[in-house]
């Protein structure tokens, strides 16, 4: 495993590579099976300006280090990146570059956008070994093409990230969770739609058919100043009364744990089976679960993000024909991975465009060559 400690060292390494480079950050997200380059040596927060709501960090900086620095100033990454370790049984230290490369976004995605929406600048080494920068450290920037977004979620196939910049949000003073118990999937998705379609600024909307106590639970989160949170939680409970009694939980530790449980798909931890992640229009969530006949399901993003636990080795994509969206195989044995693509194959002519971009950024085809094909 090579572990460059500077951008120049990395660029030299890529330029002189004569074999495929399997790139990882902290190696916690189960994307690259046998990495031979780690970015974990390129660390450090380079610039953090709380008054401008922006942060710049080297790609290998541990996510926890970034989050601690922000926490000290009462700020946070808006998109609430999940921790894959519990779900995948991986160890190691998640890096900020890994979050970006996989565009990892959690429950708050429905309100604050995905990782790519908060990302405002990148530096990366392309497949030629050239160091390229795009974007910067300001919140609004339309100067030239937006390669920043292109790099987010490109899983190291277009370049190796060396530096990432974000816009941030203030951390809220208070948080409340509104809970409705016992709803079936379609009732729950309808309740979630009503809540996120209200003016009460819901920052989390999830439904778990088999909750901690074995019963269905539907969860709604509001965050902000204390009075405002109390007001909106009350209004939501009122808005949702057709669906059953709504309970309001405001304990900071319980509510934090509850959303971490959703974010990290803890309902699947320790259970056998393959894990799929399906992105669809929220109202199609229950159709996805029904079509697949999954063992367990977790709905996040008001139903638009469906986590499925299914029998090992089974390809669910044929079952989802006719439902617009895409399915990613997040957890599976190596034998399954060799049979079923991790990422949903793209239709022509999109596949042609993606392949064209890869050829331009990585003409020798050496950057994570097996991924996203």
């Amino acid at each position: 495993m090579r572990r460059p400690e500077t951008e120049t060292e990395l660029a030299d390494l890529v330029a002189s590579a004569d074999a495929p480079l399997q790139i990882c950050g902290g190696g916690t997200r189960g994307v690259v099976a046998e990495p031979n380059i780690s970015l974990a040596g390129l660390t450090g927060i380079e610039r953090y300006e709380p008054g401008a709501l922006t942060l710049v960090a080297k790609a290998g900086t541990p996510l926890a280090e970034v989050e601690a620095a922000l926490d000290a100033e009462g700020q946070r990454l808006p998109f609430e990146p999940m921790d894959h370790r519990g779900l995948l049984g991986t160890t190691g230290t998640p890096t900020i570059g890994g979050v970006v490369a996989a565009n990892v976004s959690g429950p708050r995605r429905i309100q604050a956008g995905a990782c790519r929406d908060s990302l405002i600048g990148v530096r990366f080494v392309d497949g030629r070994g050239d160091v390229i920068k795009n974007g910067g450290r300001v919140m609004k920037n339309v100067t030239g093409y937006d390669l920043v977004k292109l790099m987010a979620g490109s899983f190291g196939t277009l370049g190796v990230l060396t530096e990432v910049s974000f816009k941030l949000l203030p951390a809220p003073e208070a948080r409340a969770v509104v809970l409705v118990n016992g709803l079936d999937d379609s009732q729950a998705i309808s309740a979630l739609a009503r809540a996120v379609g209200s003016s009460f600024e819901v920052s989390g909307a999830a439904h778990v058919p088999v909750g901690v106590d074995g019963h269905p639970v539907t969860m709604f989160r509001v965050e902000g100043f204390a009075q405002s949170v109390a007001y909106r939680a009350g209004q939501l409970a009122e808005l949702l009364k057709d669906y059953g009694e709504a309970l309001i939980e405001t304990d900071p530790e319980k509510t934090a744990a509850g959303w971490k449980w959703v974010r990290d798909v803890e309902a699947f931890h320790g259970l056998p089976g393959d894990v799929w992640r399906v992105s669809v229009k929220p109202s199609d969530g229950p159709r996805v679960a029904a079509a697949v006949g999954a063992e367990r399901v977790v709905y996040d993003w008001a139903g638009g993000l469906v986590w499925l636990l299914v029998d090992e080795g089974r390809d669910i994509r044929p079952d989802l024909q006719g439902i617009a969206g895409h399915a990613t195989l997040v957890r599976a044995a190596a034998s399954t991975r060799s049979q079923i693509a991790m990422f949903q194959p793209e239709p022509e002519p999109l596949a042609r465009i993606s392949a064209g971009l890869r050829t331009q950024f990585d003409p020798r085809g050496i950057l994570n060559p097996g991924l996203m094909r």
């Binding site: 300006e49 709380p50 008054g51 401008a52 709501l53 922006t54 100033e73 009462g74 995605r109 429905i110 956008g113 790519r116 929406d117 050239d130 160091v131 390229i132 910067g136 450290r137 300001v138 919140m139 609004k140 920037n141 339309v142 100067t143 030239g144 093409y145 937006d146 390669l147 977004k149 292109l150 979620g153 196939t157 949000l169 203030p170 309808s190 739609a193 996120v196 379609g197 003016s199 100043f225 009075q227 007001y231 909106r232 992105s279 229009k281 929220p282 109202s283 638009g304 617009a324 969206g325 895409h326 949903q344 793209e346 002519p349 999109l350 465009i353 971009l357 331009q360 950024f361 996203m372």
Partner: protein, 474 residues
């Protein structure tokens, strides 16, 4: 602009014939008296009538047009409503203007899934208009929103006063139907939140019509807040106002808008609309949203911060009428400046912490160049809009103004910012791209265009320095 290609000019008759074969007669405009209507956009200092203009009514017609132009090797300049301040829709004499104005239908509204799908010739404001009866809205609000088209918003990744909270176009765009230069049609993203594969949607948004022609768009819609209320703050120095902005942001409040005006703009708007602004050095308008109680809670905190900066005046709105008056001057600012003289509107973005320094430097440069500047801009996100006043009828004045503008933009880059926050590069800032990006950075962007438009026919003379694209364009 580059010298028009005589080879293309000479085949106008055949081209018009072929275009008429795929479009209704009134959708192909080729009489020189009529093509002049398309000779410029809102950057009126530059004008050039196109070879012809076409006004297709469907994705199929757009595909047919592009296929013909691709066959004939004719450059195409896509045009939304022509409100670009950067020359994004400026034609060349050897190009076909492809206007999407006739494509303005709402195709689908889905409140449960919170999206609207429209043809991209629809105006920004009428997208919100289509969902207003159900109390929803489309968030990006460029100040030209009454006229500007979604197609242009996507091309330039437009922002607006309220993007501090809601983001810009790229944060609110979920899917597109796009016609490639060769006439093939691609669907990217849709009603689901995350499109699969590489983030082509993010790449297309802000690509200034150089990668494809977006004909349909799926846009995120949001429920309107219960209410909104602005507060006006007057200060006796720009530095203090800039510091106040930074302190508000640091305090954990996220206003929906923080707008800044300096003395020249305040005086101009007072003379124009008489909004009743105090006569002061700089003025902030801060707006927050929510229920009455939520608004009070946030404003209390904001006013507390403002008081620490010894404001000349703090004016909290107590009625809809007062709110409207607070916004009146800001919304009339560009018009007010235009009454004094011609102006050039810049769009650089800087880190918010650099506001005081940059404002002081602009003031000094104003004296050096001998041209008056007014500043009115979105302070919360550092997106500045210096308005440089000049006299178009005075020989040499435009050139001085452009030179001054370039110096301001270089200053923006120097302090860690960028050339353009929401207007786009177009032709206006094309030659300054080298200030922000090294050759290798630009080359990476050019390679992207090579993938989408290998013949370099779509809006080819924009965004990048002409030298850098010369070989690719020929």
């Amino acid at each position: 602009m580059p010298v028009p290609d005589a080879r293309v000019m000479s085949k106008k008759a055949r081209l018009v014939d072929r275009l008429r074969g795929v479009l209704p007669e009134d959708a192909v405009i080729h009489d020189p008296a009529e093509t002049r209507a398309y000779e410029c956009d809102a950057l009126t200092a530059y004008k050039c009538p196109p070879l012809c203009a076409v006004l297709p009514s469907s994705t199929e017609e757009v595909a047919a047009v592009l296929k013909i132009c691709h066959d004939e090797d004719v450059p195409v300049v896509p045009r939304g409503a022509g409100t670009s301040l950067a020359g994004g829709a400026l034609p060349t004499a050897d190009s076909v203007i492809l206007g999407v104005a006739r494509m303005n239908e709402v195709l689908e509204v889905d409140y449960d899934n919170r999206f609207i799908r429209v043809q991209t010739g629809r105006t920004n404001l009428s997208v919100s208009g289509a969902v207003e009866e159900n109390d929803f809205f489309y968030a990006p609000d460029p100040s030209s929103q009454l006229a500007c088209a979604i197609a242009g918003n996507i091309a330039m990744n437009s922002g607006g006063a309220h993007c501090l909270k809601y983001g810009v176009t790229t944060n609110n765009l979920m899917g597109v139907t796009m016609v490639m230069m060769d006439g093939s049609v691609v669907e990217i993203g849709g009603a689901h939140l995350d499109a699969g594969g590489l983030d082509l949607l993010g790449l297309i948004c802000g690509s200034e019509g150089q990668l494809g022609v977006v004909t349909e768009a799926t846009l995120r819609i949001l429920r309107k807040p219960e209410g909104a209320r602005p507060v006006l703050m007057a200060f006796d120095s720009n530095e203090v106002a800039g510091q106040c902005v930074s302190d508000i942001i640091k305090a954990g409040v996220l206003p929906v808008a923080i707008e800044f005006m300096d003395r020249p703009v305040i005086r101009a708007t007072e003379a124009f609309v008489g909004a009743g602004y105090p006569d002061c050095e700089s003025l902030l308008i801060v707006e927050v949203e929510g229920s009455d109680a939520e608004i009070n809670e946030q404003l209390e905190l904001i006013l507390e911060i403002a008081r620490q900066h010894n404001p000349v005046e703090l004016r909290e709105s107590t009625s809809a009428d007062e709110s409207a008056r607070i916004w009146l001057g800001r919304k009339s600012a560009f018009g007010a400046m235009g009454r004094i003289n011609d102006y050039m509107c810049l769009d650089g973005t800087i880190p918010v912490s650099e506001l005081p320094y940059v404002l002081r430097r602009i003031g000094e440069m104003s004296e050096e160049f001998g041209l008056l500047v007014g500043n009115v801009f979105h302070a919360g996100d550092g997106n500045m809009h210096p308005l440089i006043l000049y006299d178009a009828n005075k020989p040499g004045d435009l050139e001085i103004c452009e030179k001054f503008g370039a110096e301001i933009l270089k200053l923006c880059v120097e302090v860690g910012g960028c050339l353009t926050g929401e207007h786009g590069v177009g032709i206006e800032k094309r030659d300054l791209m080298n200030v922000q990006y090294a050759e290798v950075d630009l080359e990476a962007q050019l390679r992207v265009k090579d993938v989408f438009d290998p013949k370099w026919l779509l809006n080819p003379s924009k965004v990048f320095p002409l030298d850098a694209t010369k070989e690719r364009r020929s």
